[in-house]
């Protein structure tokens, strides 16, 4: 196996084959890695800055300065998308382009595809940065980008995938190393997840509706959402670890066989775990149970990566003390271990009953994102800088300072937010000795504000660390040679004459035949064969992921009893639909859930728990995942007065002292877009929402009529005058707020209506 590539340094073009024809010559493309490295740090700074601003807005809602574009509901998706797809995404591409070429002893298959991928990805990020603050969103978490951008993502991702897999096919290394397995899993699964979660019917260039509704949409979204964590933030970073950690530590990987076991168990088990985001919600109980159990079983497959990482450092711990790069890796892998223990813990239903909707989840993801993704990225970047820029790192001291500032930043972020999450969860469920709720919702909000301030300090420190990295990068780059040296490597092509060494049983004669077979199997010669066959390997990974997915997805869609229908639940009126689109555009789901769980403290606070049949016209679902503000699933029953909502949107603090909801004054004056209603109803019609032809044709008039009624009632409730302050150029009945109020007044009321015809009746219980 010792066919080392000989490196010859030259700047002259070289012939493809060496004299004699036994070996081939090639040069690696490091320019693409340099480009992605630069963008990792630029977008990382943007993502973290946006995160800090969003964090400030939670402690100080006025910090949005009244600007719609940077209000929390629009900024939070920008933060998550930038952190995942721009910062972590570009970091993944640095790792893949740098390591795949070297592990395959081959230049990338196509430079054109590499650069198409690079520029395509940056265009996608710029589009995200423009559309999300403008309220152009699909409202599905981490899949907010609208359909034209989704199409672009699919094209660019496929180009990336073809380029990497084609490079593997023309490799000059006979076997594929474990890092490449993880890259294959990433490429295949992200493509599948992205395409199937983003299936929509467009209603214009900037608006679309998910083809799934309610419980099914929730199921697809969290199948996607959970596996975005799995296959965008875990598998590529494990691949990264498997290349850069042994390189930096100069130690062999602890166990090849562990690599096999944990790779396949991780890929197969991870994909099932999504429904643990939907415990106690209106998805079928069996799905929720599968989500929990596969998460529990995922614990050891996840830890396999941690073990292989940390034990690779055996005999090299003295280096860790001296080398900040290894320190970044060790802390990163440790956070991976903690987060992947906490994940199964949070997926246990009774733990989730406490943690769901709280900041506990936020602390959990930031332990993973800042600790694992952030620190693995920084370790890799510092290792690469001198190699890619061909100059010594400008300041190892600054790198060490970055490590400590970043570590303290992570701790100051996560510790107060863990405390905040537990505080929230315990206050929400507290019931006093008289059987009553112990706290108002707003008390649970004001209690968290000090912790939010500490989080801001932690996040700012982490951002400061990234800026140190950026400075170090720029100063190292400044000392680069006039022309980068591009060594020519030489290696023989992978011929066909490979003789496989058959495995021998290592056991004595005193055991049964089965034991011998098992021993031979455990030596993994069969897997060694797969490692020589990139296409077969890709097919196997695809099968593992797709079959596991279908086990859950097919029953969710075909078993009718999963979603019992409710006769009194009817489609939204055109005005309510317009209001719902505003709810989506403003990102209300980022702070408000619409899903009351069958938990006592929750039904006392919010009303009867949510039923699957209530959401059959919800394209897309709006269940949310957090309660920065209270649940709104029964808001139509709780606060029925339009004038109350109007005052509340104008400035929530007028109504609730201590509220951290930002004012939405623009909704009170922005004119509502009635003209696009027919195209929206048509899209809904295509999705099977039973609007009649007449309803679609008359939708503008009927929406205007309902708007006049809502506006009239608001004015009546306000002693006959328009309650809005300031200029009133736009009549109340033409404003966005009227549509939004109509939508909110509709929330959760349908199941209390009397059925017009004999149908399934709904029994009402004491829910308050």
């Amino acid at each position: 196996m010792a066919d080392h590539a000989a490196a010859v340094s030259t700047t002259q073009p070289v012939p493809a084959t060496a004299p004699g024809g036994a070996t081939e010559r090639f040069q690696y493309d490091d320019g693409i890695s340099r480009a992605f490295l630069l963008m990792t740090l630029i977008w990382g700074a943007v993502a973290m800055l946006v995160g800090v601003i969003a964090a400030i807005e939670l402690a100080l809602p006025e910090a949005n300065l009244g600007i719609p574009f940077i209000t929390f509901g629009r900024l939070r998706p920008l933060h998550t998308n930038a952190a995942i797809f721009a910062f972590a995404g570009n970091a993944i591409f640095v790792a893949v382009y740098y390591s795949t070429q070297r592990l395959c002893k081959a230049r990338m298959y196509s430079d054109w595809l590499s650069w198409f991928h690079f520029w395509g990805w940056q265009v996608i990020i710029v589009c995200a940065a423009l559309t999300l603050p403008s309220g152009i969103t699909q409202s599905k978490e981490y899949a907010e980008l609208e359909w034209p951008i989704d199409v672009l993502i699919a094209v660019v991702w496929v180009a990336f995938g073809i380029n990497v897999i084609a490079t593997m096919i023309k490799r000059r290394e006979r076997h594929m190393y474990v890092a490449l397995w993880f890259y294959i899993a990433t490429i295949v699964t992200v493509a599948v997840l992205h395409i199937f979660n983003n299936l929509v019917i467009p209603a214009g260039l900037f608006k679309s509706y998910s083809i799934y509704a309610g419980a099914q949409d929730a199921f697809m979204q969290w199948w996607y959402g959970h596996n975005a964590v799995a296959f965008f933030l875990t598998t590529p970073f494990l691949g990264l670890m498997y290349y850069f950690l042994p390189k930096a530590a100069e130690r062999p990987i602890f166990s090849y066989r562990l690599s096999i076991v944990h790779f396949w168990s991780l890929v197969f088990i991870y994909i099932w775990a999504g429904p643990h985001h939907l415990h106690y919600t209106a998805v079928p109980a069996w799905a929720s149970t599968l989500g929990m159990l596969f998460s529990v079983m995922l614990w050891m497959p996840s830890w396999g990566g941690m073990i292989n990482g940390l034990l690779t450092l055996r005999g090299a711990w003295h280096k860790v003390a001296a080398d900040p790069i290894l320190k970044f890796f060790v802390v990163g892998i440790t956070f991976y271990g903690m987060a992947t223990f906490e994940g199964p813990l949070l997926s246990v239903k009774s733990v989730n009953a406490l943690s769901h909707y709280t900041d506990w989840t936020i602390a959990h993801v930031h332990a993973g994102a800042l600790g694992w993704n952030g620190f693995m990225t920084f370790g890799m970047l510092y290792w690469l800088m001198p190699r890619l820029f061909q100059a010594p790192l400008w300041s190892p001291k600054l790198m060490n300072t970055h490590f400590w500032v970043g570590t303290i930043g992570i701790l100051l972020y996560i510790v107060p937010i863990y405390v905040a999450g537990l505080t929230q969860g315990l206050m929400w469920r507290a019931i006093d000795e008289d059987g009553q709720l112990a706290y108002n919702f707003v008390e649970s909000v004001t209690r968290l504000i000090p912790m939010y301030w500490v989080r801001i300090i932690g996040g700012t420190l982490f951002l400061l660390g990234l800026i140190m990295c950026f400075v170090n990068m720029l100063m190292t780059w400044a000392k680069r040679p006039a022309k980068y040296d591009s060594p020519v490597h030489e290696a023989p092509p992978v011929g066909s004459g490979y003789a496989e060494q058959p495995a021998q049983s290592r056991l004595g004669t005193a055991v049964v035949d089965v034991a011998h077979k098992l021993d031979i199997w455990s030596q993994a010669v069969w897997h060694r064969r797969w490692e020589r066959l990139p296409i077969r390997f890709t097919v196997m990974v695809t099968l593992a992921v797709v079959i596991a997915s279908l086990f859950e997805i097919v029953p969710t869609f075909v078993i009718k009893s999963n979603i019992p229908t409710i006769a009194t639940v009817t489609p939204y009126t055109p005005l309510e639909l317009a209001g719902r689109d505003i709810y989506v555009a403003e990102g209300c789901y980022n702070c408000h859930s619409q899903m009351i769980r069958p938990i006592l403290s929750e039904t006392i606070r919010y009303g009867e728990y949510s039923k699957p049949g209530e959401f059959v016209y919800d394209h897309p679902f709006q269940w949310g995942s957090r309660r920065i503000g209270p649940d709104l699933a029964r808001e139509g029953n709780s606060n029925p007065m339009g004038s109350w909502h109007l005052k509340h949107f104008e400035n929530p603090k007028q109504i609730t002292q201590g509220s951290i909801m930002p004012p939405y004054p623009w909704l009170l004056y922005d004119p509502l877009d009635f003209e696009s209603l027919p195209s929206r109803l048509r899209a809904m019609q295509q999705l099977g929402v039973p609007y009649t032809e007449d309803e679609v044709e008359a939708c503008i008039a009927s929406a205007q009529m309902q708007a006049r009624e809502v506006a009239k009632r608001i004015i009546e409730e306000s002693a006959g005058t328009d309650p809005r302050l300031g200029s009133k150029d736009v009549p109340l009945e033409d404003t966005k707020v009227v549509a939004l109020i109509a939508y909110i007044q509709r929330l959760g009321v349908d199941i209390y209506k009397t059925p017009e015809e004999p149908g399934e009746s709904v029994t009402l219980r004491e829910g308050r």
Binding site: M1, L103, E173, H175, Y177, Y243, P246, K247, P252, I253, F254, S255, Y256, R257, L258, S259, S265, Y280, A285, W286, T289, L290, L293, V296, M297, W299, M300, G304, I307, R314, I431, D434, G435, Q436, L437, P598, L600, T603, I604, R605, G607, Y609, S638, N639, P640, M641, S643, W644, K647, T656, Q657, R713, E717, S718, A719, Y752, L764, R765, E766, R768
Partner: protein, 207 residues
């Protein structure tokens, strides 16, 4: 860690080597342990008649909660005597108060001096002539649903207790943002039952 020396495989990729170490034993034990646990869990919760559903345990919690709340007083009817009686009952008026805090403050304000709904602390009333009208307004709503009907959503005892609490607010005359609305009505009837706890416990003081 075992004392067995690490043996390298013959693998080498860009200088990276791999040991042929086995997967640690505890890894296998815990992994197969979670698999067995999962199988048992699924069988128990989805196939065994001994188990219970989320909805069942929720119904049980609701029943226990109602018992905790109302076991002493039984089922109340929203008549004059009952509403007046609980105005003087410190313990049960607290339930009325917390119901008010949960359901009513968004429109009537935290101190009941009015917000988008009318002031409840003065002598003026819009839809109330007698004390039992308070309970009717709570049950059936008023002002075309601006004040929502609660009879399908609120426990009957809570309707009585929140009515008692609202009645007890009268006379504080807190300045509200809306000014006086409706008419001045006669004072509430006095408590009829002499065994009421009114003598030994003072009326609920306002926060």
């Amino acid at each position: 860690m075992s004392t067995r020396p690490d043996v390298l495989t013959d693998h080498e990729y860009d200088g990276i080597q791999e040991y042929d170490n086995p997967t640690p034993g505890w890894w296998h034990w815990i992994f197969w342990g979670t698999v067995v646990f999962s199988a048992c869990y699924f069988v128990f919760f989805h196939m065994s008649p001994e188990s219970w559903t989320v909805e069942e345990s929720y119904e049980l919690a609701v029943a226990r909660n109602l018992e905790q709340q109302f076991s002493e007083i039984g089922d109340l009817t929203p008549d004059e005597a009952t509403i007046v009686r609980f105005m003087d009952d410190e313990k049960w008026l607290k339930v009325g108060k917390s119901t008010f805090a949960a359901e009513c403050v968004t429109c009537h304000g935290a101190d009941a001096s009015g917000l988008v709904g009318p002031n409840l602390t003065d002598e003026h009333f819009k839809n109330v002539k007698t004390i039992t009208d308070i309970a009717s307004v709570v049950m059936n709503g008023a002002a075309n649903g601006a004040m929502p009907a609660q009879k399908n959503r609120m426990h009957p005892n809570k309707i009585v207790l929140v009515s008692s609490y609202v009645a007890s607010l009268r006379g504080q005359n807190l300045p509200g943002p809306r000014g006086a609305e409706g008419e001045v009505i006669p004072p509430w009837p006095a408590a009829t039952e002499t065994e009421s706890s009114a003598t030994d416990t003072p009326n609920e003081q306002q926060p």
